[in-house]
Symmetry: C2
Subunit: 206 residues, 2 copies
Amino acid sequence: MIGLETRDAPGSISERGFRRRCQVLDAAETCFRRHGFHAASMAGVAAEAGMSVGHIYRYFENKEAVIAAIVERDLTATAEQFERMREAPEGVVAAMVYGLDECLDQAADPATSALFLEVMAEAARNPKVARMAAGQHAKIREWLTALFASGHGAELTQGQIDDVVDLLLLFMTGLRVRAAYDPDIDHQRMIRLLSRIITADPERKS
Amino acid sequence: MIGLETRDAPGSISERGFRRRCQVLDAAETCFRRHGFHAASMAGVAAEAGMSVGHIYRYFENKEAVIAAIVERDLTATAEQFERMREAPEGVVAAMVYGLDECLDQAADPATSALFLEVMAEAARNPKVARMAAGQHAKIREWLTALFASGHGAELTQGQIDDVVDLLLLFMTGLRVRAAYDPDIDHQRMIRLLSRIITADPERKS
DNA sequence: AAAACAAGAATGAACGTTCATTCTTAATTC
DNA sequence: GAATTAAGAATGAACGTTCATTCTTGTTTT
């Protein structure tokens, strides 16, 4: 067998170490999704990662550190998912629906949902995780607000924008929870509800 | 994973035994909220219940049975919470807001939220729990639909009613998740968003 | 006295974590 | 270029702890 791995120069940031770390995290994510943070065992994670138990401790101080890394990865991934709406086509409603369509795919995915719920359950009892979740929430909210403000211009008051953004966030979150027990969410229907939230203006004069 | 078979205690159903059972469940609920289903220990539950470890096994076959009982209790409690809207005052919107105001109190409560998320996380990986959650969901949805149909009469099509009900359910669920990391939810604001969902009719002719 | 109830020590399995050891491979020596 | 050295990568058995569960013993009730 030819060794494809190249040794790292001493002192440099280890490329191999980084990949090994990811390997552990990917395995942990799978195990955590399957059994939850606390029912999953380090032995199981090691088996999934295809390495020995003890070797995990070369890259993570303990199990809690692995969980923390997974939480961070999941939360930042969700925030980035929302920010990808930047590359949306013209028109606010279209942009929203287009971008949120992607988010919907992710939100309605049972596997994604399982990890999300695990993270939120952890947030409910771990103040540090709660603070991270709140940070992610604020980030997404800020970005959505800016998108709406730039799109609708002066048509909507700040209060109205805040309302729509809040409704959107609650909608997406609710969807993630529903995916946990209902894998057959009607995608087209959700898009319709989504656009309804965005377009419905309770104070318009028609 | 949790076995949901309900096992009746052998012999007669004693009043004292029933109270003891509740005592265990109340203690378990507290512990599960604090640590989650799998990180909570039977010793901790026993201490919280003010009884010995081994004695719990007189009323529950094992830890799984305790979890199953808590899951069932939580899910049915939520469904009953919604059904309490039956005693709402006249007028659909008022009835909705009035009834949902109560639900909101519950949904925005961090303690309630913690257990809810635990149950949902379990549903994401345990088909039996998922089926129970889906059943609760269907029950609430059915009831909300009937309430809307009787209130709005022929003003709304069935499709429009379905949309509003779905939005409502997703809203309430999203709120429960948010309570996990944000204990200071603006109640009045949520009421406003709620009534906006209910009243906004995208196809009305005014 | 019998039966049900209660408590907590005992038990074995499983867990997270550590560590002495072996592999692997780049670098060095001859 | 073969042999040797050096060092990090990787292993998995072993450790102490904690867990769910059972067993033994004592107490209360009928």
